[in-house]
C-alpha cells in the first residue's frame, strides 16, 4: 500500500480536535484504502491482474472468514464475553453440528453469515442475523430490509454505511443496547459492500471500531448514536481497510504457495481439501475427512504433508485438536 494512502501523519495519528479537517482526511484515507481493497477483491483467479476481472480471488473465502473471526473477537470484547479469539475459533471449528452455541459463538455466526449465506437485502436475511444476536423476536426485520434498500440510494458509500447504522438503532430500540450496536455495525458492512459492488460483504467496521485509537471524547468507544459518528465510521473504515488489505496480501502469498504445491499432493481428493482451506479461516482434519471422503488418518497425513511443504500453518498451537489454515 502506498505511503500516502496510509495517512500515518494524518488521520490516524492526529486527535480529532479539528473536526472538519479530520473528517476530510479520514474520508480520503478510507476511500484510498477501500479502493485498494476493492482492487484485490476484483482480481480474479490471478492476483497479478488485480482489478481487471469481475471475479473474486481464490482466497476471498479465507479473507472473509478471518475478518469475521476478528470482528467476532472485537464484538465479544464489546459485549464483555469471556471468549477470546482462539476460544471462538475452537468453538466454531471443533463443535459438532448439533452443539448448542456459546454466547460468543452466536456473534461469530453473525459475521460468518456474510460468507455462508448469499447476502440478500430482504427480511429473511435480517431475521437470520437477528437470530444470531438473540435480539427480541419481534424486531421488525421488514423495516430493516427497507432501511437497507433505501440506504443504497445514498451517493457516497461511506455515508450510506453511516446512515444505515444510525437509523437501524431506532428500529432496534427494544434490543439490548450492545446487541443493537453490533447489529448496526453489521448492517453498515452489508450496505458498504453492496454499494461497492462486492460479491459478498467483508466484516470491516467492527474489527476496528473498538480499537483504542478510535476513542472519541472522554475516552469512550464510538457509538452509532454519536453526533460525530460519520467521522468515526470514516476513521474506522480507513484503518479496517488497511488492515484487511495487509491480510489480503498475506493470504494472497500463502494461497499462491498452496496452489504451487497442490500438484505435488498425491492424496486422493486433495484438491477438495485445498478448496476448503481457501474458503475458510481454518479447517479441522475431521471436517476435511468428512467433506473430501478421506479417512481420518489420511486427512491428518495430508495436513502434515501440507505443513511440511510450508503451504499451510497449524493455527491452534496444540499437539492435538489441531486446526489448519492459510
Amino acid at each position: 500500500m502506498p505511503r500516502w494512502a496510509k495517512g500515518d501523519a494524518g488521520a490516524q495519528g492526529r486527535r480529532q480536535d479539528d473536526a472538519l479537517g479530520g473528517a476530510g482526511d479520514a474520508q480520503f484515507f478510507a476511500g484510498a484504502a477501500l479502493a485498494l481493497l476493492d482492487h484485490i477483491l476484483h482480481s480474479g483467479p490471478d492476483v497479478s491482474s488485480a482489478g481487471k476481472s469481475s471475479a473474486e480471488p481464490p482466497f476471498a473465502g479465507a479473507l472473509r472468514q478471518r475478518l469475521a473471526l476478528r470482528a467476532a473477537t472485537a464484538c465479544a470484547r464489546i459485549a464483555r464475553l469471556r471468549e477470546d479469539e482462539p476460544a471462538l475459533r475452537d468453538a466454531e471449528h471443533l463443535a459438532s453440528f448439533d452443539a448448542a452455541l456459546t454466547p460468543g459463538g452466536r456473534l461469530h455466526r453473525l459475521w460468518r453469515l456474510f460468507a455462508t449465506r448469499p447476502a440478500r437485502l430482504d427480511a429473511p436475511f435480517m431475521r437470520a442475523a437477528a437470530d444470531c444476536l438473540e435480539v427480541p423476536p419481534h424486531i421488525d426485520c421488514e423495516a430493516l430490509a427497507v432501511l437497507v434498500r433505501e440506504s443504497l440510494t445514498t451517493e457516497n458509500p461511506l455515508n450510506a454505511a453511516t446512515r444505515v447504522s444510525t437509523a437501524a438503532l431506532h428500529i432496534l430500540d427494544d434490543a439490548p443496547q450492545i446487541d443493537a450496536e453490533i447489529f448496526a455495525l453489521w448492517l453498515a458492512d452489508l450496505v458498504l459492500a453492496r454499494r461497492l459492488g462486492w460479491a459478498a460483504p467483508l466484516p470491516l467496521l467492527a474489527t476496528t471500531i473498538s480499537h483504542p485509537s478510535m476513542r472519541v471524547a472522554n475516552g469512550r468507544r464510538p457509538h452509532p448514536g454519536d453526533p460525530d459518528w460519520s467521522l468515526s465510521v470514516a476513521r474506522a473504515y480507513a484503518r479496517a481497510a488497511q488492515e484487511a488489505y495487509a491480510l489480503a496480501g498475506e493470504l494472497s502469498r500463502r494461497s499462491a504457495m498452496l496452489s504451487s504445491v497442490a500438484p505435488k499432493l498425491r492424496a486422493k481428493k486433495a484438491a477438495r481439501v485445498v478448496d476448503l482451506l481457501l474458503a475458510d479461516d481454518c479447517v479441522s482434519p475431521a471436517r476435511a475427512a468428512k467433506t473430501a471422503g478421506l479417512s481420518d488418518r489420511a486427512a491428518r497425513r495430508l495436513f502434515d504433508r501440507l505443513v511440511a511443504l510450508g503451504a499451510v500453518r497449524e493455527l491452534s498451537g496444540r499437539a492435538n485438536f489441531r486446526l489448519y489454515g492459510l
Partner: protein, 239 residues
C-alpha cells in the same frame, strides 16, 4: 394457578366498550372516542389482561397491537407496575416478554396448598446444583473439569445430568483438552426461570469482572463466596 386465571377471565370487564373480537378488523386499538384519561385506563387494563391470560411471557410487540399508536408503551408499563405495588404479584420482564408473577415472599404460602401451581422460578436445586448452574452462566462455555476446579470439589455427572434434564443447560462445543469433554452453556429456559432478560443482566457481573474473576485463564481464587452471596435472591417465584 390455572383455575384462578380462568375465573378472572370469565368475569367480563365492567366496561364492555370493545366490539366483539370475532374479526380482528373490528378491534379498536386507538379508542379515539374516549377522553384521554379513560383511554389510558382502558389500555392499561387491556395490556394487563392480555399478560394475565397468556400461558407464556408476552412480547412487547404483541402487546403494542392492543394500544393506540400514540401510546407511550414504557409509561403504560410503569403505570401498571405502580398499580400492582400493593398486590401480591408483579409484572416482570423475562426472556424477552412480560409475565405476571407472584412476589417471592408468598412462595411458602402457595407451596402449602400443594396444588399444581407451576413454579416460574428456578426448580428446587441443591446448593451444588445452584453453584454449578451459576458458574456455567458466568463462565460459559465451561467443562465439568473447569467447574470442579472452580467449586473446589468434584461436580458429578449426575449434577450436570439433572441440570440438563431441567433444560437449564445444554452441551455446547467440545473443549480441546484430552477426552474432548463437553463445554456447557445456559439455555433460554435458564433466563426465563431466573427472570433475566439477557445474560448481561446477571448480578454483580461488573464486580466479578473488576476483580478479574471472569478472565479466561482459570482463577485460583475461590468463587464460592461470590457465587453464593446471591442465593438469597433466588427464592422461588410462582405464577
Amino acid at each position: 394457578m390455572p383455575s384462578m386465571k380462568a375465573h378472572r377471565q370469565d368475569s367480563a370487564p365492567p366496561n364492555r366498550r370493545v366490539p366483539r373480537r370475532d374479526g380482528d378488523l373490528l378491534f379498536d386499538a386507538d379508542l379515539s372516542d374516549l377522553p384521554q384519561a379513560m383511554r389510558w385506563r382502558e389500555w392499561m387494563g387491556r395490556v394487563e389482561a392480555a399478560i394475565f391470560a397468556a400461558p407464556s411471557p408476552v412480547t412487547r410487540d404483541a402487546l403494542t397491537k392492543l394500544v393506540g399508536r400514540d401510546c407511550n408503551f414504557d409509561d403504560l408499563i410503569c403505570d401498571i407496575r405502580d398499580d400492582l405495588r400493593p398486590r401480591p404479584y408483579d409484572l416482570v420482564l423475562v426472556a424477552g416478554g412480560y409475565q405476571l408473577r407472584t412476589k417471592p415472599r408468598y412462595a411458602d404460602a402457595i407451596r402449602v396448598l400443594n396444588n399444581d401451581a407451576r413454579a416460574a422460578g428456578p426448580p428446587a436445586l441443591t446448593p451444588t446444583e445452584l453453584l454449578t448452574v451459576t458458574a456455567i452462566a458466568y463462565l460459559q462455555p465451561a467443562t465439568r473439569a473447569e467447574l470442579s476446579r472452580l467449586a473446589g470439589k468434584e461436580i458429578s455427572r449426575d449434577v450436570i445430568g439433572r441440570l440438563k434434564g431441567l433444560d437449564l443447560i445444554a452441551a455446547g462445543p467440545r473443549a480441546p483438552t484430552p477426552g474432548a469433554p463437553y463445554a456447557y452453556v445456559t439455555t433460554r429456559k435458564f433466563l426465563e426461570v431466573f427472570g433475566l432478560a439477557s445474560l448481561r443482566d446477571l448480578p454483580d457481573i461488573e464486580r466479578l469482572e473488576d476483580e478479574g474473576l471472569l478472565e479466561r485463564p482459570q482463577p485460583e481464587a475461590d468463587l464460592d463466596a461470590v457465587l453464593f452471596a446471591e442465593e438469597e435472591d433466588l427464592k422461588e417465584h410462582w405464577e
